[in-house]
């Protein structure tokens, strides 16, 4: 369990600390339509409504089993943040996964030629890894600002990857959605906090939610144009007197620096 706890932090410090702890995550109100620039016909997206999340980790475990994700690595996880001062203290939950960026930095750095091992699918916008092409260099792990990737030691050709395994991450359960079945993290969620669909279809649930809500994306300043949108992911906003000392604690079950462990 990775825990960051500093009972006597100012809000300013707190925000800095969050940056360090969650790979530089800040939450800024997004202009949702601006993120709709992609040209493809279908743009799969997920809206995460944090009000419906109880932090139960069912999505984390469902994902783990669906893909037999190795211990120490995650494709999907939930962060818990405690903030405030007794008795005015809150715990916020933030489910996380690959943001399926429209401008994915991981793709830019992939060195394989002539075809990139990690690429964005033209037909639906999902960023995927072709494990037959991946050479296990882990550059994409470094490039991802969301810490959403890991090296999977169970996959890939051990010679080609020099025993590093291949890069792996969430693909929105491509093998399920291509058969008309909801992603594994979506169908287990007791609160139905994860809503999945085609953002380019104006009648879809995700399109309506993004249209009508003050959704946010993570790390908007990185200009990655994520396809994962959050409703009420405002745990980083100061809840109380901003001048008061703020207690802040982030819990995640991720192994510390898990993404780097095989590199």
């Amino acid at each position: 369990m990775t825990t960051v706890s500093t009972p006597t932090m100012t809000r300013r410090q707190m925000l800095k600390r969050v940056g360090a702890a969650t790979a530089g995550v800040t939450v800024v109100a997004a202009a949702p339509m601006a993120a709709r620039a992609a040209k493809q016909e279908v743009r799969y997206a997920m809206v995460i409504d944090t009000r419906r999340c109880s932090g139960c980790q069912a999505c984390s475990i469902a994902c783990k089993a669906e893909f037999e994700v190795p211990l120490g690595a995650v494709r999907s996880w939930v962060e818990h943040v405690e903030v405030g001062k007794y008795p005015n203290v809150e715990r916020r939950m933030l489910p996380r996964l690959c943001n399926q960026c429209s401008e994915p930095p991981c793709v830019d750095v992939c060195p394989t030629e002539p075809k990139k091992a990690t690429y964005k699918r033209k037909e639906d916008g999902i960023v995927v890894v072709d494990e037959s092409l991946c050479i296990g260099c882990a550059k994409c792990l470094e490039a991802c600002p969301y810490d959403a990737r890991f090296m999977n030691p169970f996959k890939g050709d051990p010679v080609k990857t020099k025993g590093n395994g291949v890069a792996d991450k969430c693909d929105f359960c491509l093998h399920r959605i291509s058969q008309g079945v909801q992603p594994s993290c979506v169908n287990t969620c007791q609160g139905k906090a994860r809503i999945f669909g085609d953002l380019n279809d104006p009648t879809s649930a995700v399109a309506k939610l993004v249209e009508e809500f003050d959704t946010t994306v993570l790390l908007r300043d990185k200009k990655t144009k994520p396809s994962v949108f959050y409703i009420d992911a405002d745990y980083l906003e100061a809840k109380k007197d901003p001048k008061a000392d703020q207690y802040f604690r982030l819990d995640t079950h991720r192994k510390e620096a898990s993404s780097k462990r095989w590199s």
């Binding site: 706890s5 109880s54 139960c56 669906e66 008309g180 079945v181 007791q190 809503i195 999945f196 649930a205």
Partner: protein, 838 residues
């Protein structure tokens, strides 16, 4: 914090609807991707995975589920979208069950101890040898006329498993059958049996408008967890239903509430009493409360009219003012008053309670006060309130009991210790065996039961289990090398639930009742066998009649063929294909108590009126009739109806005790045992003597673990494997403790060294340590300790990547075994401790 604007928009977009099969899906999601679940594919080959409908068993909720098998291997578990209980969603624990089957420390063969108890020295034996050994001891005791010395103690045996395994032991002739319920929530059930008969209350979140929660962490863990919890989340998100949670700790449930009200441990009853005071003094009982009071008993006089009842309640709670409760609980009087008004005037509202209220010295009275608050506001047994729950009523094949059943009197506490142990007193079974005055087992069979880990005072429990003089022969039926199993003499390798048959019946929040079955996803590994099959073999060896069924699968088949509805739908074959069945024409059950009973029934031959209780009953003899309803043993089984001033009604029928058919809040049963018959605030004795250095230790559960049986699931252990003690910064600072420090927690029965989690999310004066952790066995994922005969990794390629080294510390080392004097509930939340920095 709920963004009001966002909330208002939400309803429109994700309005839910019921689709074919009963699963509740978002209309929009159904359009986008037509299939919510019940299908899965291999991510590597794209091949369809074989889907097998079955049922979970990680916690007692036992949700219907769907297992996916690929190349003969169980690879994934999800919900069954056709379940009306879960409506197609599942918790982390249920998802993690996929790890049980292939736990590298699973026991796959019968094993006999060869070294000292607890030395981990075992030899593999055959099933024949193992069963001969057990049958020989059973024969010996039967021949000696001491079948009661064969003790069967289970932690969980439900529905058809309870019928077959329990049935076998009763058919053999022993009634020495123990359970674990007092460690769980038995006290809540007893309090309900004393008041409205039966047990299990369903909180109707589908229809409620306000939730007042005393000490339930329902979003993380509960007796009927996901079926209840998801309805609460939906109600909050889609309808803006507000919940207020009283707890010593900011649980995730408290965190999702509109408001968390921190409260001193064990004082919830005082706040409830004060809320009743507010309702009575402000006349908030008028209307619904008055109507319901017709069906409530609050005085000795069973013919009292409503004004007399109101006067009695007012007199009973007159001293329980909000100011008085503030001094005891730390909850501001103004808040108590405001919440009492809100609860009384928001119709309907539901009162939720659990171990935060009931796992205390005063827990029985806490739950009775909760029932009283519901009664005086009329917020009871109707849609949107706390209701009597409905389960599936299977028609079980009969297993005839022995003509004479003998039992050791070791399951209900020491003499005079507990007044009404209707769910027994699990925590004193080992101490009573040690004491010996009521006899000791010749053979102690543990089924899904880990007394050393699950009870308090672990040190004493281990000493007792190790002592061959106290217990000459211990058998453990366990799929894994459990923390108590390691002290057994013989281990029978049970199947994990993923390889079992069961006909299941847990209660349904839709108030209809869902019939469902568990069927194996895969064949048992190694020589593992379900104990409910093994008892059929033992019965053959002993010449015990098990009725028509030949195996447990057969028993489940017969239950499906016997049970109306299930039978008509297609019986066993239907259930194997679909997993679940409910009556689509049934209407949700509500208001069980106000059905008029016709004269032909209560004036039938043999039925008499017991004037003292107003109960129409059928006494077995003249002598019983003379003794009266309340004083006659087992009279509740002869209950017919309740006479009330306005007629004769079905009433709240009794279940385990001789209560009247009223919601009984003036209890002659409690009076007879020297307790106040009217619900009363009782201070916790130990808490009245606390010094400045003392703290109260409370326990809790995490959403990704069950109490004691899931730490071997690697995915769950990865999420939650360590349990530092929660302590408020003020409390910590006074002791020089900082976050992450090693601390010593000391009580009258022991001490532990653990780590401090200094957090604002807990009330000062309390230290909270979760269950689940601190295993000393249960395999390498749980404790680092390898099970015997498990030299290889059994294809678990993950094991070398286990990255956590800490397994936490179990709080039960310092918690004494101490029952609620009324019902026997283990007092998990009362222990006084001292905490120091190491």
């Amino acid at each position: 914090m709920l963004n009001r604007r966002n909330f208002l928009k939400l309803g429109a977009v994700t309005a839910t609807t019921t689709v074919a099969g009963g699963a509740c899906l978002s209309t929009q999601a159904a359009k986008d991707l037509p299939q919510w679940g019940n299908k899965d594919f291999s991510p590597t080959t794209g091949k369809s995975r074989k889907a097998i409908p079955s049922a979970c068993w990680q916690c007692v909720t036992r949700c219907a589920n769907m297992g996916y098998v690929e190349d003969g291997r169980l690879v994934k578990i999800e919900s069954n979208v056709n379940s009306i209980r879960t409506e197609g969603v599942m918790c982390a624990k249920g998802q993690g069950a996929v790890n049980h089957t292939y736990d590298p420390d699973r026991i796959l063969y019968p094993m006999q101890r060869v070294g000292e108890r607890g030395s981990d020295e075992w030899k593999r034996i055959s099933w024949d040898e193992a069963l001969d050994m057990i049958a020989a001891r059973m024969k010996k005791n039967r021949d000696a006329g001491t079948p009661e010395k064969v003790v069967y103690h289970y932690g969980r045996a439900k529905a058809s498993h309870s019928k077959t395994i329990g049935g076998f032991f009763k058919a053999y002739g022993t009634g020495s059958i123990g359970n674990h319920t007092a460690l769980c929530e038995g006290g809540k059930w007893t309090a309900q049996e004393l008041t409205w008969g039966g047990h299990y209350d369903n909180w109707d979140f589908d229809n409620t408008k306000f939730v007042l929660n005393f000490g339930s962490n329902v979003l993380e863990t509960h007796t009927n967890h996901i079926p209840t919890a998801h309805r609460l989340l939906w109600a909050m998100a889609e309808k803006g239903v507000e919940m207020v949670t009283f707890d010593v700790r900011l649980s995730n449930t408290a965190a999702k509430s509109k408001e968390w009200v921190p409260i001193k441990s064990g004082t919830d009853g005082a706040v409830l009493a004060a809320m009743i005071n507010v309702v009575m003094s402000e006349g908030l009982y008028k209307g619904d409360g008055e109507e319901f009071l017709k069906y409530t008993r609050v005085t000795e006089d069973v013919n009292a009219d409503v004004p007399a009842k109101i006067a009695a309640i007012k007199a009973g709670v007159k001293d329980y003012t909000p100011k008085w409760a503030e001094k005891i609980s730390g909850v501001p009087a103004s808040k108590i008053t405001a919440l009492a008004r809100k609860f009384a005037t928001t119709k309907p509202a539901v009162l939720v309670s659990y171990r935060g209220l009931v796992a205390h010295y005063n827990g029985n009275e806490g739950e009775r006060l909760a029932q009283l608050l519901c009664a005086v506001t009329g917020q009871i047994d109707k849609p949107g309130t706390r209701m009597k729950a409905v389960g599936a009523g299977w028609k079980w094949p009969k297993i005839p009991s022995a003509k004479k059943i003998k039992k050791l009197d070791i399951f209900d506490g020491f003499p005079g210790q507990v007044a009404y142990p209707t769910h027994h007193v699990a925590e004193t079974v080992l101490p009573m065996i040690k004491d010996g005055r009521n006899g000791r087992p010749d053979m102690y069979i543990m089924y899904c039961w880990t007394p050393a880990y699950a009870n308090g005072h672990i040190g004493e429990a281990i000493e007792i289990l190790k002592d061959e003089k106290l217990m000459p022969f211990i058998v453990s039926v366990d799929p894994f090398y459990g923390d108590s199993t390691m002290y057994a003499d013989l281990i029978l390798p049970d199947t994990p639930f993923t390889e079992r048959w069961t006909a299941e019946d847990m209660v349904d929040p839709a108030q209809i009742g869902e019939f469902y079955i568990r069927q194996p996803f895969t064949k048992p590994l190694g020589e593992a066998r379900d104990f409910s099959d093994v008892v059929f073999d033992l019965a053959k060896r002993l010449g015990v009649d098990m009725g028509k069924a030949k195996s447990h699968e057969d028993f489940v088949r017969l239950a499906c063929e016997n049970t109306p509805g299930v039978k008509d739908a297609g019986g066993f074959e239907y259930m194997k294909k679909h997993g679940v069945w409910h009556d689509k024409n049934a209407t949700p059950q509500q208001q069980v108590y106000n059905r008029p009973v016709p004269e032909s029934v209560y004036k039938a031959k043999g039925v008499v009126l017991d004037k003292a209780s107003g109960v129409y009953w059928k006494p077995a003899s003249e002598a019983d009739a003379k003794k009266g309803y309340v004083a006659t043993k087992g009279a509740y089984k002869k209950y017919v109806a309740q006479q009330m001033p306005h007629g004769v009604f079905s009433g709240f029928a009794p279940d385990k005790v001789n209560k009247s058919g009223y919601l009984e809040l003036w209890s002659p049963l409690l009076k007879a045992k020297g307790f106040n018959p009217f619900p009363t605030w009782i201070p916790i004795p130990e808490h009245q003597k606390m010094g400045p250095d003392d703290l109260v230790l409370t326990t809790f559960k995490h959403a990704a673990q069950t109490h004691s049986r899931t730490m071997n699931c690697k995915y769950l252990a990865e999420v939650y494997h360590n349990n530092p003690a929660w302590i408020n910064p003020v409390t910590a600072k006074a002791r020089g403790i900082y976050d992450g420090d090693r601390i010593k927690v000391t009580s009258e029965v022991g001490e532990i060294v653990t780590k401090a989690r200094v957090t604002e999310a807990i009330i000062p004066g309390v230290v909270a340590i979760s269950h689940h952790c601190g295993h000393w066995a249960y395999g390498r994922y749980a404790s680092g300790r390898r099970a015997p005969s498990t030299d290889e990794e059994r294809g678990d390629r993950d094991f070398k990547f286990k990255w956590w080294t800490e397994n936490g510390v179990h709080p039960n080392w310092v918690i004494p075994n101490s029952p609620d004097p009324i019902n026997g509930q283990q007092r998990w939340m009362d222990t006084v401790v001292q905490v120091t920095r190491v």
